[in-house]
């Protein structure tokens, strides 16, 4: 398996003393489904945003698809970002525009400033957008304004916007944290399908340990800005989960033995 993404000694500090990430090391293979879990404020969001440089890391090296991410200049950075789709907890759509327009926003990274500014899209791009919308079950919502959609539908628009970029990697920041259990399952199933059938690598921040264990090939546990666990979810032990969250046995809602019973 080829490495798509590799982080070596990546740190991020705010000001002089606030450490958000310290010495993060891990790599992600092509086609892998990786979950990042950890308590709130552990640095999961910062980690994800350092990868596509929405936040600049302070030190360390990030390599993506053979490129040294931190050394990219402005133009190269735009090109690099087209290869990474991003999905957000609050969907981050332009609510007053239609589903169709929001999905096409995913193509803006490929456009010249002029074509992008006026929103000129080719027929091929429009066709792709419509195709993705029908795969995601939104064909009847194409011309609806996004503020008329439910949370789950909005997140599917977010996924379509990321996929129309033709990305190699999807970064998902708490994609189901604002959704009900039904919509959450739909979204996670789509992410799994995207990973397995389209071969797109998926990296997802999660609050729900059970979801992380059920869907991912690998789990990365983060606590206080450090990687404290990495491994196959099938062999994950309860103590390890408590170690990530700094809790004692029985203190979490989640319970591993019941969970494996229900998954199995």
């Amino acid at each position: 398996m080829t490495k798509l993404l590799e982080l070596q000694g990546v740190s991020k500090t705010y000001g002089k003393n606030t450490v958000a990430l310290s010495e993060i090391n891990f790599s992600v293979n092509e086609g892998e489904f990786v979950s990042v879990i950890g308590p709130s404020g552990a640095g999961k969001s910062t980690l994800l945003r350092c990868i596509n440089r929405m936040i600049d890391s302070t030190s360390g090296e990030i390599n993506f698809d053979g490129q040294a991410v931190q050394k990219l200049n402005k133009k190269a950075l735009r090109q690099f970002r087209t290869k990474i789709g991003m999905i957000f907890q609050h969907y981050n759509l332009v609510d007053r525009l239609t589903v169709f327009e929001n999905v096409l926003h995913g193509r803006l990274g490929y456009k010249s400033t002029l074509a992008g500014a006026f929103g000129f899209y080719t027929d091929e791009e429009k066709r792709q957008a419509l195709e993705l919308l029908s795969i995601l079950g939104l064909e009847s919502q194409v011309y609806k304004r996004c503020d008329q959609l439910s949370g789950g539908q909005k997140q599917r628009v977010g996924i379509a916007r990321a996929l129309v970029q033709k990305p190699k990697l999807l970064l998902c920041d708490e994609p189901i944290a604002s959704l009900d259990p039904n919509a959450s399952k739909v979204i996670m199933d789509y992410l799994q399908t995207i990973c397995k059938s389209m071969g797109i690598t998926v990296m997802v921040n999660l609050h729900q340990v059970d979801v992380a264990l059920k869907y991912s090939d690998r789990v990365i546990g983060i606590s206080k800005g450090e990687v404290v666990y990495q491994g196959d979810p099938r062999f994950m032990k309860e103590e390890e989960i408590h170690h990530i969250y700094g809790s004692e046995a029985g203190e979490l809602i989640f319970n591993l033995s019941e969970e494996s019973h229900y998954v199995g």
Binding site: N52, M54, L77, R78, Q79, F80, R81, T82, I84, G85, M86, F88, H90, Y91, N92, L93, V94, D95, R96, L97, H105, G106, R107, L108, G109, Y110, K111, T113, G116, A117, F118, G119, G158, R161, A162, Q165
Partner: protein, 261 residues
């Protein structure tokens, strides 16, 4: 302990009230204002108004002239607010946390907005009188500067409020700065920006009357002229027409708001 807390709160409040009363009394003493005379003159003023301040037949013969000046005033208010809005939008983009290019331009933008907003329209008129004399241009620029200051501030806050999330998403797709502005910031904030612009036009028409008195143009000039030549009937017609214009415009802008929001 708990009783003490509420006691101290009550003491603080009483102290504040005493202080406000003392300041008011001091101000009355210095200004030599007679409270009783002030209140008793209200009915007198009202009687005077009823007797003199109403339009008569002679006043209505001046109506075409009044309407002409009123239209001029309304047009200057609209023109100053709209042109100020264009400039204010550019400054707001630079000043907003979401879309700013760097801290330097952001501070410049905020400084300009504060400066222009905090100088009153009457003060602007008097400053500009020296440069442009008694012309419509003076009134236009006075309204333009104040609108620019106010709208820059209002636009900056609107942009910050509505477009933060979608700007992040578009930056993450690799979209260029200009594309992000036109595809995310403009569509999310446009209705609120237009709403602020309408508000500014209404405010400008109100201020324009005052500015006109100072700069000797428009409807304010007419009012001043009639009033000083003791033609109270015509002056009252001017006031009535201004009120009608403001109410009509407010109704129109409320209608536009309902449609776009």
């Amino acid at each position: 302990m708990l009783d003490n807390f509420f006691l101290r709160k009550r003491l603080k409040l009483s102290l504040l009230i005493v202080l406000i009363l003392a300041i008011t009394y001091g101000a009355i003493l210095i200004a030599e204002y007679d409270i009783i005379k002030g209140f008793t003159s209200i009915p007198e003023a009202f009687v005077w108004g009823v007797q003199n301040f109403y339009p008569d037949a002679n006043a209505f013969s001046r109506l075409p002239n009044i309407l002409n000046k009123l239209i001029e005033t309304v047009l200057i208010s609209v023109a100053s607010a709209s042109t100020a809005a264009i400039l204010a939008f550019l400054f707001a983009i630079l000043g907003s946390h979401t879309t700013r290019i760097n801290g330097f331009f952001a501070s410049i933008s905020r400084l300009f907005a504060t400066l222009f907003r905090n100088i009153d329209v009457a003060v602007w008129s008097m400053i500009l009188l020296f440069s442009f004399g008694q012309s419509a241009l003076t009134g236009y620029f006075a309204l333009f500067f104040v609108s620019f200051g106010f709208l820059t501030r209002a636009f900056t806050e609107t942009i910050d409020e509505v477009s933060n999330d979608s700007v992040e998403a578009l930056r993450a797709t690799g979209a260029s700065y200009i594309s992000t502005i036109t595809n995310a910031v403009v569509p999310s904030s446009a209705p609120q920006l237009i709403s602020w612009l309408l508000f500014m036009i209404e405010t400008n028409i109100r201020s324009a009357t005052l500015v006109g008195i100072l700069t000797g143009t428009g409807i304010g000039f007419l009012f001043d002229l009639y009033y000083k030549s003791l033609d109270y009937h015509s002056a009252s017609l001017v006031v009535i027409m201004v009120v009608i214009a403001i109410l009509a415009l407010e109704a129109l802008s409320n209608f536009i708001r309902r449609v776009i929001l």
